[in-house]
C-alpha cells in the first residue's frame, strides 16, 4: 500500500440533540465494519455506564478504532470519538471535537433541528471541522427529510443538499455514511517529526493502572519510555504504555501525529491529567500548548447529605471514588444545623448534578438529601476583596457587601411559532433580558435570552416543556458574571436565625420569597408548648412573619380495653419523631420542615 497511514486515517465525532439516534448510528457503523463480533455487540456499545444506556445520553466521552475497506479498495483507520451529548459538558464536547477533523451531525427527520443540534454544530464549526449532515430516522412515518434539510440550512447555516438520508435503526444508508467519512473528512494534518503535542480529550481511572489518558496526537510521536510533561500543570511522568481503542485497550508501539489512542503513565490523580491539557515531550517540549484549555469550573452547587447520619463516611468514600473519574465534580465537607454532616458539591450543570446524585444513590446504595441547587456568587466587599460564595451561609454580613455579581447564561430556545408567547413569558418571569428572535421557513423560531443562571436552575426546563406542550428545546451557555441587586434573606425561628434556610435572592423577589418561606415553615412545623414566631428578614428588617399558636391538646382520651401495646407504640412513635428533630433554640424542627424549604422551588 503506497498511501501512508496518516493519509488513511479519519478522526470523526458524531454530534446530535438527545434522542436523535447518535448511539444507534454508532452501533450500526461498528457492525458494518465488523469491529465487534456478534457476541460483543451490545446495543449502544459506546455508552458504558448503565445510567448512560438507560437515559440514552452519553456522559463520558469514549473512542473506538475501526478499520474500513472503502470503495477505492484502500483500508482506512477510522477513529470514532464519542462526545457527551449535553450542554453541561460543552467544554468536554469541544475538547472531543478538537481531537477530530470531521463530525457527523445527526438530525432526527421527524423532530427536526433542536437546540442542542445548533449548539453542537456551532461548536464543531468553531473547531473548523468538516460537518456531514445526517438526516436520521427516515423510516418513521412522520419523517420529513425535506423540511429537516431546510432547517439545517436556515437555522444552522450549513449546506444540506448532500445530507445523507439514514435509518440507523434499520440500517439504511450506513455504507454511504462510511464512504462520506472517507471522502469528505480530511486526513489529519500534523508533523510526526515536530515536538510532541497530544491533546487529552478524556481520561478514566483504572484501579490497577491509574489514570488512562485519551489523547489525540497533533504533532510528534509518543511511545513507552517517553518522558512527558503536562503543559498546563507542569507535572512530569514517564509513559508506561500507549495504545489504541479496540473494544478495550490494545497496546501499540507508538502513537504518531494524527493518531487517536491512550497513554498510561503512572498518573494517580485525575487532576494531573486534565481534559484539554496538552502532553509534550519533556526532553523536547513544544513551544506552546494546543489552544482551548481551561480548568473545569463548577457552575451549580448543592448540599448533599446522607439521610442517615451514619452513612456520612460511605458518602465521603463514594464521592472520592466518583471524582476519580470526574474532574469536574468538586466537593467539600459542610455542616448544616438542619441536615447534619454532608458535602457542598459543585457541578458543571443541572444534568451533571442529577447524574452524580443518581450514581451515588444507585451505585453506592445511599439515601440522600439534596438541597435546592444554587450558583456561585461573586461578592465584592467594602474592603475591596472579591469572594466567591457558593452557599448563602458563606455570605459576608450585609454591611460588608459592596455589590454582588451572579453568573449569567445565554439561553437559546427553539420552539414552533405557536409557543413563542409562553416561552417569552417564562423568560421574562425569570428576570430575562431579550436578545434576539429568528424565524425560519419551517415554523421554527429561535429565541435567545440572557438570564441569571440561578433562574434556570429550578424547574425552568420543566416549565418550558409544559408551556410548549413538549415542543420547545433549549440550550444555554455561561457568558460570565454580571452585577445584580441581590440580597440575603434570613429565616428566624423565635428570633434565632436558621443558617441552613438562608437564601440569596433578587431584591425584587425578596418579599415574595420571604412570605413563601415562612408560610411553608408554618405548615411544616408542629405546634409546641409555646408560641412559635417564624420570620423572614433582610438584615434587621422583618419582611414576613407567621406565628404558630401553642399546642393546646396532645392527649390520648382512652386506653381501649387494656390494649396497652397500641398506646405504647403511639407514644414511641411520638418520641421517635422528636428524636429526628433538630433544635433551633427551644423549637423542635423536623427534618421534613427543612426539606420542604430547601428542596422545593416555588
Amino acid at each position: 500500500m503506497a498511501i501512508p497511514v496518516q493519509q488513511r486515517t479519519r478522526n470523526f465525532c458524531i454530534i446530535a440533540h438527545i434522542d436523535h439516534g447518535k448511539s444507534t448510528l454508532a452501533d450500526r457503523i461498528l457492525e458494518y465494519t465488523h469491529t465487534l463480533g456478534e457476541r460483543e455487540m451490545r446495543e449502544q456499545v459506546l455508552d458504558q455506564m448503565d445510567l448512560e444506556r438507560e437515559r440514552g445520553i452519553t456522559i463520558k466521552a469514549s473512542a473506538i478504532r475501526l478499520t474500513y475497506r472503502a470503495q477505492d479498495g484502500q483500508d482506512y483507520v477510522l477513529n470514532l470519538i464519542d462526545t457527551p451529548g449535553h450542554v453541561d459538558f460543552t467544554y468536554e464536547v469541544s475538547r472531543s471535537l478538537a481531537a477530530a477533523e470531521g463530525a457527523l451531525l445527526v438530525v432526527d427527520a421527524a423532530q427536526g433541528v433542536e437546540a442542542q443540534t445548533v449548539a453542537n454544530a456551532h461548536l464543531a464549526l468553531e473547531q473548523g471541522l468538516e460537518i456531514i449532515p445526517v438526516i436520521n430516522k427516515i423510516d418513521l412515518p412522520n419523517a420529513s427529510p425535506d423540511r429537516t434539510r431546510v432547517e439545517i440550512e436556515e437555522i444552522i447555516g450549513l449546506e444540506a443538499d448532500d445530507a445523507l438520508l439514514v435509518s440507523a435503526k434499520i440500517g439504511t444508508g450506513v455504507p454511504e455514511v462510511l464512504e462520506a467519512i472517507v471522502q469528505r473528512v480530511p486526513p489529519p494534518a500534523g508533523d510526526p517529526e515536530a515536538p510532541l503535542q497530544a491533546l487529552i480529550f478524556d481520561s478514566h481511572f483504572d484501579p490497577h493502572r491509574g489514570i488512562v489518558c485519551y489523547v489525540r496526537v497533533r504533532n510528534g510521536r509518543i511511545a513507552a519510555g517517553t518522558k512527558i510533561q503536562m503543559m498546563a500543570t507542569g507535572r512530569r511522568f514517564e509513559v508506561q504504555e500507549v495504545g489504541v481503542f479496540g473494544l478495550g485497550l490494545s497496546r501499540v508501539d507508538e502513537l504518531a501525529a494524527g493518531s487517536v489512542g491512550y497513554v498510561i503513565a503512572g498518573i494517580k490523580e485525575i487532576g494531573e491529567a486534565r481534559v484539554g491539557d496538552t502532553i509534550t515531550d519533556a526532553a523536547r517540549p513544544a513551544s506552546k500548548p494546543l489552544p482551548g484549555y481551561r480548568p473545569a469550573k463548577p457552575m451549580v452547587f448543592c448540599g448533599i447529605y446522607p439521610s442517615e447520619n451514619d452513612d456520612y463516611p460511605l458518602l465521603r468514600s463514594a464521592l472520592e471514588r466518583l471524582s476519580l473519574n470526574d474532574a469536574a465534580l468538586l466537593y467539600e465537607p459542610e455542616t448544616s444545623v438542619a441536615l447534619g454532616f454532608g458535602f457542598r458539591c459543585g457541578f458543571l450543570g443541572l444534568l451533571h448534578m442529577e447524574i452524580v446524585q443518581e450514581r451515588l444513590e444507585r451505585e453506592y446504595g445511599l439515601d440522600l438529601v439534596a438541597t435546592a441547587p444554587s450558583v456561585a456568587y461573586r461578592v465584592h466587599t467594602t474592603t475591596g476583596e472579591v469572594v466567591e460564595v457558593d452557599s448563602p451561609a458563606k455570605l459576608p454580613p450585609q454591611d460588608r457587601i459592596a455589590r454582588i455579581e451572579e453568573p449569567f447564561v445565554r439561553v437559546t430556545i427553539m420552539t414552533p411559532s405557536a409557543y413563542v408567547g409562553p416561552c417569552i413569558e417564562l423568560c421574562q418571569d425569570r428576570r430575562g433580558e431579550y436578545e434576539s428572535m429568528e424565524h425560519s421557513h419551517t415554523d421554527r423560531v429561535v429565541i435567545t435570552y440572557l438570564l441569571p443562571l440561578s433562574e434556570i436552575l429550578l424547574e425552568f426546563f420543566d416549565q418550558l416543556k409544559s408551556r410548549s406542550r413538549g415542543y420547545a428545546s433549549m440550550d444555554y451557555e455561561v457568558i460570565g458574571y454580571r452585577e445584580s441587586d441581590l440580597v440575603k434573606l434570613d429565616v428566624m425561628i423565635n428570633g434565632d436565625p436558621v443558617d441552613a434556610l438562608s437564601v440569596i435572592v433578587h431584591k425584587s423577589e425578596a418579599q415574595h420569597r420571604g412570605r413563601v418561606l415562612v408560610e411553608r415553615l408554618r405548615k411544616a412545623l408542629r405546634r409546641q408548648l409555646f408560641e412559635i414566631r417564624i420570620q423572614a428578614a433582610l438584615g434587621s428588617r422583618i419582611i414576613a412573619s407567621e406565628r404558630i399558636a401553642p399546642m393546646r391538646k396532645n392527649v390520648t382520651a382512652k386506653c381501649y380495653g387494656g390494649d396497652v401495646t397500641r398506646k405504647r407504640k403511639l407514644l414511641e412513635r411520638q418520641k421517635a419523631g422528636k428524636k429526628r428533630m433538630r433544635q433551633i433554640g427551644k423549637v423542635d424542627v423536623p427534618q421534613e420542615a427543612f426539606l420542604t424549604v430547601l428542596k422545593i422551588a416555588e
Binding site: 405546634r527 391538646k553 405504647r568
Partner: protein, 401 residues
C-alpha cells in the same frame, strides 16, 4: 379546672390484694356500626345474627374453660369483671347472665367484685337490667355520648336523646346503684354550647361516674375517609381543648372527682376495673381482640368473631401475639399508664414492680419535665398536674422506648 387536691391513693375502695385478677369479656356485636368506631365490632345483623352470636359466646365459654384449667391461674380471685364491646346488651341478657354464671364456676370471686356491663340506649330495658343485676352485675356503663339529637345523628349513633333518658330511668328503676355515662366531645360541627348542655343533662341524670372522651379519628374508619376527602372538617384541637376544660369544670363543680384524664367519679365510685389497667395490674381478656396482662406477659387474641371462633373450636388458644415485658419496658408502661391518674405513680411501687430506679433510668427526663412544670415530684410520687393533662402525651412520650 378544679383546684381540689388529687385524692390520695389510700382513699380507694378496696386496694390491690394478692391474687387479684380482672376478666374482660368482649362482645363484638352492635345494632349498627358508628362511623368513627375502630373497635372489633360488627352489626349483629351482618355478623350472622343470633346464631353466629350464640356460636361466638360458646367459643368464649370454651376459652374461659381453657384459661381456668391452666395451673397458672391457681389462687387467682376475680376482683373485677368487665363486659365490653361492641354492645353486650345487643344480645339477650340471659346469655350474658349464663356466661357470668359460668365464670363464677370457673374462678373464685372476691365478695366485693365489681362487675360492669356496657350498654347502649335502645338496647336496655328494666327487665333486662334486672336480669343482669341478678347475675351479679354491679355497674352499668351507658354509651350516651350526647344529649343532642343533632350530634347523635352526626355521630351516626343508633339512638336518640329521649332513648338515652329512658335508658337511665330503666337502669335506675331496675335497682342499679352504680351507673356510668360515656360522653364524646370534639366532633366536627359540635359547638361548645351544645356540649355544655349535654354535660348539664348528664349531671342531672345523677350518675355515679362520667367518662368524657375526645373523639379521635382512627385510620380506616368511614370518618377518617370523610375527613380525608374533605367531606367532614377535621377535629379542631383548640375547640376540643376548650370542651375538655368545660367538662372538667362542670363535673368538678357537681361533685365529681377528676381522677383520671378522661374520668370523673363520685367519691368511692371510681371504676375499679379501669383503675387496674392504669395500675398495670393483671387481667385476662376473653373473646376476639381481647387483651391480657399476666405475669409479665401481654397477649392479645385474634380479631374478628369468626376467626376467633374458628381457633377456639379447633381447641387452640386464640392468641395472636404475646410479648414478655422486660423491666425497662414495664417501667415505661407503668409510667405511661399510671401518670394518667390524678394520684400519679409511686416511685417505690415502680421500683418494687420493675426492679429499676425510675430516677436512674429517666432522671434527665424527669428533671426536665419538672422544670417545665409538666410533672410534679413530691412525697415519693410522680404525677402530671391537672392543668397539664391536655398535654399529657408530651410527658408520657418521654417515657416511651
Amino acid at each position: 379546672m378544679s383546684p381540689r387536691k388529687p385524692s390520695s391513693p389510700s382513699s380507694k375502695s378496696p386496694s390491690e390484694r394478692p391474687g387479684d385478677l380482672s376478666v374482660y369479656l368482649h362482645f363484638p356485636f352492635c345494632l349498627s356500626k358508628c362511623p368513627y368506631c375502630d373497635f372489633d365490632s360488627v352489626p349483629l345483623s351482618t355478623a350472622g345474627g343470633e346464631t353466629a352470636a350464640r356460636r361466638y359466646l360458646d367459643a368464649m365459654a370454651i376459652e374461659m374453660d381453657m384459661r381456668a384449667a391452666s395451673p397458672e391461674f391457681l389462687g387467682a380471685q376475680l376482683a373485677t369483671v368487665y363486659c365490653g364491646g361492641g354492645t353486650p346488651t345487643t344480645l339477650p341478657p340471659e346469655w350474658l347472665a349464663n356466661l357470668l354464671a359460668r365464670l363464677r364456676l370457673r374462678f373464685p370471686w372476691a365478695a366485693d367484685a365489681e362487675v360492669t356491663v356496657e350498654a347502649n340506649p335502645g338496647t336496655v330495658s328494666q327487665a333486662g337490667v334486672r336480669t343482669l343485676l341478678g347475675a351479679g352485675v354491679t355497674r352499668i356503663s351507658l354509651g350516651v355520648q350526647s344529649f343532642s339529637d343533632g350530634v347523635l345523628r352526626t355521630l351516626g349513633r343508633a339512638h336518640t336523646a329521649a332513648q338515652a333518658r329512658a335508658a337511665v330511668e330503666a337502669i335506675r328503676a331496675a335497682g342499679c346503684q352504680n351507673l356510668n355515662l360515656d360522653l364524646i366531645y370534639g366532633f366536627p360541627g359540635q359547638t361548645e354550647a351544645e356540649w355544655g348542655a349535654s354535660l348539664e343533662e348528664a349531671v342531672a341524670c345523677g350518675p355515679e361516674h362520667v367518662s368524657v372522651y375526645a373523639l379521635s379519628v382512627e385510620k380506616g374508619t368511614p370518618l377518617a375517609a370523610d375527613i380525608e376527602a374533605g367531606r367532614v372538617a377535621p377535629p379542631d384541637d383548640d375547640l376540643a381543648a376548650a370542651m375538655y376544660l368545660r367538662a372538667a369544670d362542670s363535673l368538678s363543680r357537681a361533685g365529681y372527682e377528676h381522677y383520671e384524664i378522661s374520668n370523673f367519679a363520685r367519691p368511692g365510685r371510681q371504676c375499679r376495673h379501669n383503675r387496674r389497667y392504669w395500675l398495670s395490674a393483671e387481667y385476662v381478656g376473653l373473646g376476639c381482640s381481647a387483651h391480657s396482662h399476666r405475669r409479665g406477659i401481654r397477649w392479645n387474641n385474634w380479631g374478628g368473631p369468626e376467626v376467633y371462633t374458628q381457633w377456639v373450636e379447633r381447641g387452640v388458644l386464640p392468641v395472636e401475639r404475646a410479648e414478655a415485658l422486660g423491666p425497662r419496658r414495664r417501667l415505661g408502661e407503668m409510667l405511661m399508664l399510671g401518670l394518667r391518674l390524678a394520684e400519679g405513680v409511686s416511685e417505690q411501687e415502680l421500683a418494687r414492680a420493675c426492679g429499676l430506679d425510675v430516677r436512674e433510668v429517666f432522671g434527665r427526663e424527669i428533671a426536665r419535665l419538672c422544670q417545665a412544670g409538666m410533672l410534679l415530684a413530691d412525697a415519693g410520687r410522680l404525677r402530671i398536674p391537672q392543668d397539664r393533662w391536655l398535654l399529657s402525651d408530651e410527658v408520657l412520650s418521654q417515657f416511651a422506648a
